[in-house]
């Protein structure tokens, strides 16, 4: 069955949905950020796996190699990884400040504290 020949895309979909579910369904602020990272990791795998040329070597210039994999997705993903790291750092900094201001990192407790205002 050639569904399983495209197993890399199934991995992408699995990770994407897992990450998305964790972001939506989790009540803890830190877990949401973990879910966001999973979600972004799936996108990285999507880009890298679509950049592979069958029979191609890694895109490093060498004398003996005829075909290379496409280096452009690698560069795009490097940028996206940096963006992901920056987002995670910013999100966690916000969580630290929220913990100091509210005393908790559970979303429902924060809501109840705000509602009582």
């Amino acid at each position: 069955m050639d569904m399983f020949a495209l197993y890399n895309y199934w991995v992408v979909i699995f990770l994407m949905m897992t990450g998305f579910y964790v972001v939506i369904a989790s009540g803890n602020l830190v877990k949401k950020i973990i879910g966001l990272n999973l979600f972004q990791a799936s996108v990285f795998i999507l880009y890298i796996s679509m950049g592979k040329v069958s029979g191609g070597a890694a895109p490093i210039l060498r004398e003996t190699v005829q075909t290379y994999s496409n280096p452009l997705p690698h560069v795009l993903i490097l940028t996206a990884i940096v963006v992901g790291v920056a987002t995670t750092a910013l999100g966690l900094a916000l969580v630290v400040r929220i913990k100091e201001a509210y005393g908790t990192t559970e979303e429902d407790e924060i809501h109840s504290q705000d509602e009582s205002l």
């Binding site: 490093i60 210039l61 490097l78 940096v82 750092a89 966690l92 900094a93 630290v96 100091e100």
Partner: protein, 138 residues
């Protein structure tokens, strides 16, 4: 963790190796996997290891937050500055061909400087982020 002799000794042995490796990764981005961001993170990892074992106060003595702020800004200014220099030399922004006599040398020099700027900024930002998080009293 400061009192554990094994951790202390091993850290003191491995930190120079980590720093050297990060410099290798920085300058071999043209010829293998590597480049500014990766090298910056590995460089920062050495400082973070030092902070984990010897405490954040020790790291603040080595590299103070104001130095880190200066390095963050100057890495980005190096990157943007290279682009501005290429504009002043007549090309478009980040047109490395204008930087040296022949285009190949210009491309090498341009990428070298730009990746250096990226590496400096990334290392400084990573250490700043770690010190900002770890330095808070809970």
């Amino acid at each position: 963790m400061r009192d554990n002799p094994v951790l202390r000794v091993v850290t003191k042995i491995t930190i120079p190796i980590i720093l050297l490796f990060s410099l290798y990764v920085q300058f071999h981005g043209d010829y293998g996997p590597g480049g500014g961001f990766q090298a910056g993170v590995i460089f920062a990892a050495a400082f973070i290891l030092y902070a984990l074992v010897f405490g954040t106060q020790a790291v603040r003595i080595v590299v103070s937050p104001s130095i880190l702020r200066l390095l963050t800004a100057s890495g980005l200014l190096l990157f943007a500055g290279v682009g501005t220099v290429t504009m002043l030399l007549g090309g478009h922004y980040l047109d490395y061909d204008t930087l040296a006599q022949n285009p190949l040398l210009g491309q090498h020099l341009g990428i070298f400087l730009v990746e250096l700027g990226v590496g400096i900024t990334v290392a400084a930002v990573m250490i700043t982020v770690f010190l900002a998080f770890a330095g808070r009293r809970d």
